[in-house]
Symmetry: C2
Subunit: 317 residues, 2 copies
């Protein structure tokens, strides 16, 4: 499968995106795979710099992710959280004992003057990860969600309020001044780049922060290589997370057709689930090339299988 | 035992001092007992504000101290430390999973603008501690140890280098600008103060930072109440910690006589161990009143017993 100098750039949010990233990691060498992570979910909590999507990618690609919980770190314990509750520290964002190490590391290195890209690279090396995880930007971008109960920083919407508030708008504070991370720009400039893969992540909360970086869409178009979006919607519902609920609140039909329309300007192709084949005719009008595959990734074999299909598809474009 | 309006002020370092403080807590009401803690051992580690002597007092008086280890918190787990090691974080200062809560709480509250006194009072309340723990000062004081391998911040001497370097001098950075904490000054001004008790803590590393606060010795003398030192030395050796080794390096004989001489200007009385009775005649020349008692506190009954004897002794002075 692996054919030497071909390089792939994946854009990813957290859990859904990380599944495909793991599949890609199994198909490609480290030099071939870069994954740009959304940092709009990042926030400061108890004085710690927390980067949920980066950490989900780190733990997933390091084979340290907690498969029972579906998030966080494997073999986790919660004694810090219990002791925190006793003294009245905020505990709405769960910090596991092992997980804390990564947050203290990041916070410490940021204070020492390292940028997020360096820190994530260091963690990739420490965890011996066979891919390059790159934060979308080293400048802080903070997703803010306008809702019926007011404007909420992303984690307060997502975790503290469990996505219950009704969303009217999503903004990315700091995006105007944010520059794509240097390594991200280098991937786009690399003449060996074969394709850009938009992982099955939430389009509004995970992918759009990345695509909203100044001039980024223009840069992606200028690359002139296939941009393949893997649908986060299967049979009118989101595989994971609040995508479906959010689409409804934003008055969008929750369908692969909507996904195709959302991405038609930036992408050249879409991968939809085999069970959504009936939508192919509708999607054709967007001008996107279409692959149908099994995009619900339960097992590791599912992930590797989809990654292989996406890579093969990219070669055909 | 408890006789209403009498108040006691104890000066304490960590483990040894906390034992007597626990005994005193059993003999007195919360309104009667204030314990001023050394903060010269405080330091910043991984971006966390750490106050070892305060925390030892908190955990001991809250009955949350780790009796197997002799330090730290009960029912502790070390998963954070294990994960930290994996990613190359400094792990020479052991941070338990539960213990981390107190450090994040303190660091967070300091950033919010609270001073250390407030924070410790909050923690005393959270832990329902029946005594008032007061940091010696809200200004940072940092014990620096001049040794044969260079000048070391206290924790690097004490923990990282396990007290192995040979000490030539001990200094307290920031002491000139440090003001005793407001609650400390209020204890000294309280007309109900019956006695000041210097707990069996290291004279150089735990008690001297407190006594070195500007004008403090004068203030203590001006109180005009008994100042009773409980010897940290028994039969020519320290009960706990590096006191004996340190005294040798500072060319001091490790004996209760030396302790009496060190404190003779500030104190009016000394409590020595029953096994050191032969030193009574020598100590008399210092002008100090002398009580001999069982000062090696192993059991809770030992602690309460000594506390009762010290309180009784203070009444006789």
């Amino acid at each position: 499968m692996n054919t030497g100098s071909e390089k792939y750039l994946a854009l990813s949010g957290g859990i859904g995106g990380a599944k495909l990233a793991l599949g890609l990691q199994h198909c490609l060498d480290k030099s071939q795979l870069s994954i740009v992570a959304n940092t709009g979910d990042d926030f400061e909590h108890l004085g710690l710099a927390i980067s949920p999507d980066i950490d989900t990618l780190l733990y997933t690609l390091a084979d340290l992710n907690n498969q029972e919980l579906g998030w966080g770190r494997r073999d986790e314990s919660w004694n810090f959280a219990e002791a925190s509750k006793q003294i009245g520290l905020d505990t709405w964002f769960s910090l596991g004992d092992r997980d804390l190490a990564i947050h203290l590391y990041r916070s410490q290195r940021l204070r020492e003057g390292a940028n997020l890209s360096q820190i994530v690279e260091e963690l990739c090396n420490r965890f011996k990860i066979q891919a390059n995880i790159i934060p979308m930007s080293d400048s802080p971008v903070r997703t803010m969600v306008d809702t019926n109960i007011g404007t909420l920083p992303f984690q307060e919407y997502f975790v503290k309020n469990r996505c219950k508030p009704i969303v009217s708008e999503i903004r990315f504070d700091g995006i105007e001044k944010a520059r794509p991370a240097q390594a991200f720009l280098e991937c786009l400039d690399d003449s060996n780049l074969s394709a850009i893969i938009i992982c099955p992540s939430n389009p509004f909360l995970s992918v759009n922060p990345i695509l909203s970086l100044p001039s980024l869409k223009e840069k992606i178009k200028a690359v002139g290589k296939p941009v393949i979006v893997v649908s986060p919607i299967v049979q009118g519902n989101s595989i994971k997370g609040p995508t479906a609920k959010l689409m409804q609140e934003l008055n969008l039909e929750c369908s692969v057709e909507t996904i195709a329309n959302l991405y038609k300007d930036i992408s050249s192709a879409i991968v939809i689930d085999n069970t959504d084949k009936s939508a192919i005719n509708d999607i054709k009008s967007t001008g996107l090339e279409i692959l149908s595959a099994n995009i619900v990734m339960n097992s590791l074999q599912d992930k590797i299988g989809l990654a292989n299909e996406v890579i093969d598809f990219s070669r055909s474009l």
